[in-house]
């Protein structure tokens, strides 16, 4: 009897600890809604380095991972070099003679931070590992580009540079680590695909030049549950969990093929026709469709596919087809290179890396409006767009967020500058927007709460 009471109390305690309203959490890259946050009048439309800034803190090192939020906890990662590293250039880079690759021999510290939501004070910081990066990276990439995930009990970080997964409790203690080994990407451009967390499992996708795989791990212990080999040799796209009417699947986008796996690791369906170069945008699941895109500017294929649930086998389009039983629609030249798509209120928005916004009907793929330039002086866009309160937001690498009216008519409503480079996609929770620039983390919210 006493044991039952203890167990019940423990369960209740855990439940209370982990109970956070849905709007209070943004537990993964692009949050639970693929970049779409619940409407909240507290969320800001305007900001600057001082306006509507609740707090801002310096974050050392270089990292393009996004912050995540769970209740009062804001987690983020970084890789801190002991030496000055070359500053990343802004804007899409046409590869030069060095192909954009760089290698650092400086000692780095791979860090996890827990920042207090209310005050911006660092609650704890934990060094996960130190040493020289074992692999090269692109000059615009970082050695900590993967966004962590959390279930409110632990925060899980994956540093692709190291091939290391670590689980930490909310006090910053390391619960377990899993060393998968570093793996160089084919061109030495480093890693970026973030881990996924779903139903007690961590999923890691590692497309590299050595031994590509997708694998599932027990979130409690780090034990490997399954692993599937892959043919791709590089890629930076974060996979997505697709809970649809027929099953739950893990959709991965890559240069060679889009592949979807069951939660048991079995291949469900695959699709060819992506850009013939590593994929970066993460698939978007919305309104019963999975939108998958890639758009390397140097590739003749820059597609967006809208896939229906329930597919099996090879669902690739035949020449001349614009859809089939499993592909609701297809646009051959719509995809962006770095930014992910945004499905919002019946429209599918594409933010091209070079500062154009396009709008298509999310169901049919028909163009609603074509390329609309946000700002001719913008140097480029890498962060994925987000939406709330009937507005879209596009954050440039210059740190300028362009605010656009959602809907069939393009209308630029304003722009907000933080005047520092950023490539990280923001997080949104509890009426606040979290923007990570090259050196800072901002919490932005309306000064006067409605």
């Amino acid at each position: 009897m006493r044991r039952v009471v203890v167990l019940t109390s423990l369960a209740l305690t855990l439940l209370l600890l982990s109970h956070v309203e849905a709007t209070d959490r943004w537990p993964q890259f692009r949050g639970p809604g693929a970049g779409v946050a619940d409407d909240d009048p507290a969320l800001p439309d305007t900001w600057s380095q001082t306006e509507n800034v609740v707090w801002k803190i310096e974050i050392p090192g270089q990292s393009w991972s996004s912050p995540i939020v769970w209740g009062d906890h804001v987690f983020l990662t970084s890789a801190i070099s002991s030496e000055k590293e070359p500053s990343p250039t802004r804007g899409l880079a046409d590869p030069t003679a060095e192909n954009g690759r760089m290698r650092s021999s400086a000692s780095h510290r791979w860090m996890v931070y827990d920042v207090d939501f209310n005050t911006g004070k660092v609650r704890w910081e934990r060094e996960i590992r130190n040493g020289s990066p074992p692999i090269a990276r692109h000059t615009r990439n970082s050695y900590a580009s993967e966004t962590p995930v959390t279930d409110g009990q632990r925060v899980y970080v994956y540093f692709g540079t190291l091939g290391l997964i670590a689980a930490l409790d909310l006090k910053g203690e390391v619960v377990w680590t899993k060393d998968l080994g570093p793996k160089e990407s084919a061109q030495g451009w480093g890693m970026a695909a973030s881990p996924l967390l779903h139903s007690g499992r961590i999923y890691v996708l590692s497309d590299n030049g050595v031994e590509s795989f997708i694998a599932a791990f027990d979130a409690r212990t780090g034990d490997e549950i399954w692993r599937a080999k892959r043919e791709e040799f590089e890629g930076w796209s974060t996979p997505v969990v697709w809970e649809n009417e027929t099953r739950t699947e893990i959709v991965t986008a890559a240069a060679g093929r889009v592949r979807s796996y069951g939660v048991d690791g079995q291949l469900l369906w695959e699709l060819s026709g992506m850009s013939d170069f590593g994929s970066i945008p993460t698939p978007v699941v919305s309104s019963g469709l999975a939108y998958i895109s890639s758009g390397y500017p140097g590739s003749a294929r820059r597609p967006v596919f809208a896939v229906r649930p329930g597919a099996s086998g090879d669902i690739s389009l035949k020449p001349g087809e614009s859809g089939n039983q499993h592909i609701a629609w297809f646009q051959p030249l719509l995809g962006s290179y770095q930014t992910s798509g945004l499905a919002y209120r019946g429209h599918y928005y594409t933010l091209l890396d070079r500062g154009f916004l396009l709008c298509h009907d999310a169901t049919t793929g028909k163009q609603v409006y074509g390329r609309q330039r946000l700002d001719v002086s913008a140097s480029g866009f890498a962060a994925s767009p987000w939406a709330y309160n009937g507005k879209l937001f596009a954050l440039s690498e210059d740190g300028v967020a362009y605010v656009v009216q959602a809907g069939p008519e393009f209308k630029l409503l304003g722009k907000n500058s933080l005047d520092e480079m950023t490539m990280a996609t923001p997080a949104i929770a509890r009426g606040s927007l979290f923007i990570r620039t090259q050196s800072k983390l901002y919490r932005i919210a309306k000064a006067t709460r409605p």
Binding site: G91, L92, A93, D94, T96, G298, A300, D353, R373
Partner: protein, 325 residues
């Protein structure tokens, strides 16, 4: 100092070796009259001046005495020069992250920077027409820049290219641009309210070089054709109707067709390992190789000025050839 002298001697000996072997390889039509011992990735020439670009440096060379070519001076940008064109004593330079640079290269003085404009991404190449510099940029596509006052270049608009923009060439009120992998675009410069292309098509052959080059052939029988050298086949676009550019059959040279220079309908091709090729495009549907010149190292760019043909070689040196017997 001793090491320096030894180094110079080696360079001179090497230069002599190159020159003698080139003489051995020349055809009847070309006479080697000199060599410029300056490495050049890109080369252009006008009357008695040659303009050589390597890394971030543009060097002006006096070629009035081809056998005694003389450097007048040089200007170095912080970033790589991807392309440039010379117009009315000014060199318009696409200097990567530095954007558009405008150098005064007139007279006999060292080139000086008259003006510059940072473009959003990597500036690749420039063409000038009617007070407007068109700058290809990896982020913005083609930037339209007013250069009436070279000291104050002003961005007026941009036209988007889908891929990595590589080159642009203006001819009268029309400009043509290319991107990687396969895009070809036509811009109407008389339009002041729109910077979008009025016509576009895709080439069948991927453009794999970052220094692709477009040139406009002289009009013949009302037909206008644009050439694209992009490290493979020479591609031809019929742009007689700007709204509907048409890809014509490509022409295969023996080598890589890296860069070109035009003299009327003769196209001089820096053909990589195949040296210099001269192709007669009087009939674009039926071009013919009419001459060639074997080089010991790959030819990577070519320029023509009067009777002179300058060939930039991989690994250094620019050959100065005189055409005709």
């Amino acid at each position: 100092m001793t090491q320096c002298r030894v180094g110079r001697a080696i360079v001179l000996l090497f230069g002599w070796y190159v020159i003698t072997t080139e003489i051995a390889a020349q055809t009847n039509r070309f006479t080697l009259v000199g060599a410029i011992p300056i490495a050049a990735e890109l080369i252009r020439a006008q009357s008695d001046r040659a303009y050589l670009a390597a890394a971030g440096t543009l060097t002006v060379v006096d070629i009035s005495r081809p056998d005694m070519a003389r450097s007048i001076g040089a200007y170095t940008f912080p970033d790589r020069i991807w392309g440039f064109r010379v117009h009315d004593g000014l060199a318009y330079v696409g200097a990567d992250r530095s954007g558009l640079g405008i150098l005064d290269v007139s007279g006999n003085a060292t080139p000086t920077l008259r003006g510059s404009l940072k473009t959003p991404g990597q500036a690749k190449s420039v063409s000038v027409s009617g007070g407007v510099a068109l700058v290809t940029d990896t982020v913005s596509g083609v930037d339209f820049v007013r250069v009436d006052d070279p000291a104050k270049p002003t961005l007026t608009g941009s036209g988007f290219l889908d891929g990595f923009s590589t080159d642009v060439v203006a001819s009268g009120n029309v400009a043509y641009a290319a991107d990687r992998p396969t895009g070809f675009y036509v811009f109407d410069l008389s339009k002041t309210d729109s910077f979008e292309p009025v016509g576009t098509t895709q080439s069948g052959v991927p453009n794999n070089t970052q220094r692709a080059q477009l040139e406009v052939l002289p009009e013949s029988s009302g037909r206008r054709v644009v050439l694209l050298a992009a490290g493979g086949l020479l591609q031809l676009f019929d742009v007689t109707n700007p709204a509907s550019p048409t890809l014509l059959p490509s022409f295969r040279t023996p080598g890589a067709a890296l860069r070109i220079a035009l003299r009327d309908h003769l196209v001089y091709v820096a053909d990589g390992q195949a040296g210099l090729q001269v192709v007669d495009f009087t009939m674009p549907a039926n071009p013919k190789i009419v001459d060639s010149f074997k080089t010991m190292t790959p030819a990577r760019d070519v320029a023509v000025a009067g009777p002179l043909v300058l060939v930039a070689l991989a690994g250094g040196d620019v050959l100065v050839l005189k055409e005709g017997t």
